[in-house]
């Protein structure tokens, strides 16, 4: 969980940073998308590097979901009879929403790829510029799309709030001082990431990016 999760966090930061290119200008954003596809050329044919990354991501996502499923099945088996008085959450809320949060994120990623990568679910369609798809997506009259993005990105934030800290612990973090540091790192990274992701839809919504 920790290793595959760490890879996904790296991707999320790279992706979020790339998204911010939209503030430089719409055509710069499109050039960035073009550049991503040109990475590795001429060593590799066009878009090969991108596909290598995609395969890497899929493997990481696959391992992450596989481990999460195995843990969930074990947890169900380990407590066949539930408590009549529903236990109140005493640990962290983020820790207790990892499973459902993860499911929401997967659904979001599927929608998101069909929307912004392939364009199937985007008003602009697949042949348009990536920046046009983003602008069309978060237009004020499509507020429900923006809302869905916001909810999903916040879910990612919660997921990482616990996930990043938990990864430190799984990899052997054990001092009290280190625990405070790991908790702080997890919180700061999650908040920064959420802010980076949400800045784009809000910029489009408010007309800052047009």
């Amino acid at each position: 969980m920790a290793v595959s999760g760490a890879l996904l966090v790296l991707f999320l930061f790279a992706h979020a940073a790339g998204n911010l290119k939209i503030f430089v200008g719409l055509s710069d954003f499109d050039h960035y998308a073009e550049w991503l596809r040109g990475l590795g050329t001429p060593l590799l044919p066009h878009a090969w590097f991108l596909w290598i990354q995609r395969v890497g991501l899929l493997v990481a996502i696959g391992l992450h979901i596989w481990a999460a499923t195995a843990l969930t099945i074990r947890a169900r088996k380990a407590r066949p009879v539930k408590y009549a008085h529903r236990p109140k959450i005493q640990g962290s809320y983020a820790a207790r929403t990892m499973r459902w949060g993860g499911v929401i994120i997967v659904l979001f990623v599927i929608y998101h790829i069909l929307d912004l990568t392939t364009g199937h679910l985007n008003p602009e369609g697949g042949d348009s510029d990536p920046s046009a798809r983003v602008v069309a997506d978060f237009a004020p009259e499509r507020w429900y799309v923006t809302l869905f993005y916001v909810v999903s990105v916040v879910a990612v934030g919660f997921h990482l709030r616990h996930g990043i800290w938990s990864a430190f612990r799984t990899l052997g973090q054990q001092t009290t001082k280190g625990e405070r540091r790991a908790q702080a790192i997890a919180l700061v990274l999650s908040v920064v990431l959420v802010a980076m992701y949400l800045s784009v839809p809000f910029a489009v919504l408010t007309g800052l990016v047009d």
Binding site: A70, R86, K88, Q90, A95, R169, T170, Q174, E179
Partner: protein, 247 residues
């Protein structure tokens, strides 16, 4: 105090159980939770009913027997306190209090609130020991131990094996218990020879017993009557990583 308790009644290991409500009247706020159940049991016996079976021994917070989930919280609402050390003044007159046994596949119910915690012993048998020469007791200072390590080992050694961590864990995992035992031995020079095999074998025994896997959810330490810190789980993970990389 007049209260109502809803208690899990189950006649035997394979019998079906259910929550049964009882009125308990005239309880002193200074009575312990177990004394409240004693009073209730006396009434049940006078009425010719079967008294509620529950585990208890020392009644002073050190044996780890008094396993009860009270209103959804293992060992009840007071932090770092066993059920036997919990007093009725923590509740209000007229409260309805739910009392259930530890819920875990590895801890089958024997009767009512009594569960079988043998799997924790199985984990200890798998590696919770050191090898030492027998015979005359060694000199107390023959093997020096730094004060810091001795204190940390002692803190871990306060785990009373009650199983509340398992009862509270959303994964039904006994990782806090196992981590406490591994830290308490692994921090001492005497615990070094078996340090690698200990963590591997104890985790294997834990998995074999049907406990769930730890996801660092952190519920365990909030209910632990001895306040065993979750950081010991990080220590266990680190020991485990080192041990498997040597195999």
């Amino acid at each position: 105090m007049d209260i109502k308790v809803r208690v899990w009644r189950q006649a035997g290991p394979s019998a079906a159980g259910k929550m049964v409500t009882y009125d308990v009247k005239g309880i002193s706020p200074d009575a312990s939770f177990l004394e409240m159940i004693d009073v209730l049991n006396e009434t049940l016996i006078l009425n010719g009913d079967d008294p509620i079976a529950f585990d208890h021994d020392c009644r002073e917070g050190i044996c780890g027997m008094c396993s009860m989930v009270i209103n959804g919280v293992a060992h009840g609402p007071e932090k770092a306190t066993t059920t036997c050390q919990l007093h009725m003044r923590k509740f209000k007159d007229g409260d309805v209090i739910d009392v259930e046994p530890w819920r875990a596949a590895a801890f089958p119910v024997i009767k009512d609130l009594v569960v079988d915690r043998t799997p924790l012993d199985k984990i200890i048998q798998a590696g919770g020991y050191i090898t030492a020469p027998t015979g005359t007791a060694p000199d107390a200072h023959a093997t020096p131990v730094p004060k810091k390590d001795a204190d940390a080992a002692f803190e871990a050694a306060t785990c009373i094996g009650c199983g509340a961590c398992v009862a509270a864990c959303p994964n039904g995992s006994s990782m806090l218990f196992t981590a406490a035992k591994i830290a308490h031995l692994g921090l001492m020079p005497q615990g070094q020879p078996e340090r690698d095999s200990r963590v591997i074998d104890m985790l294997q025994a834990q998995d074999d017993a049907g406990f769930g896997g730890c996801t660092n959810a952190g519920e365990c330490t909030t209910v632990c009557p001895k306040g065993i810190p979750m950081s010991l789980i990080g220590r266990l993970n680190s020991d485990y990583r080192k041990a498997i990389s040597k195999r």
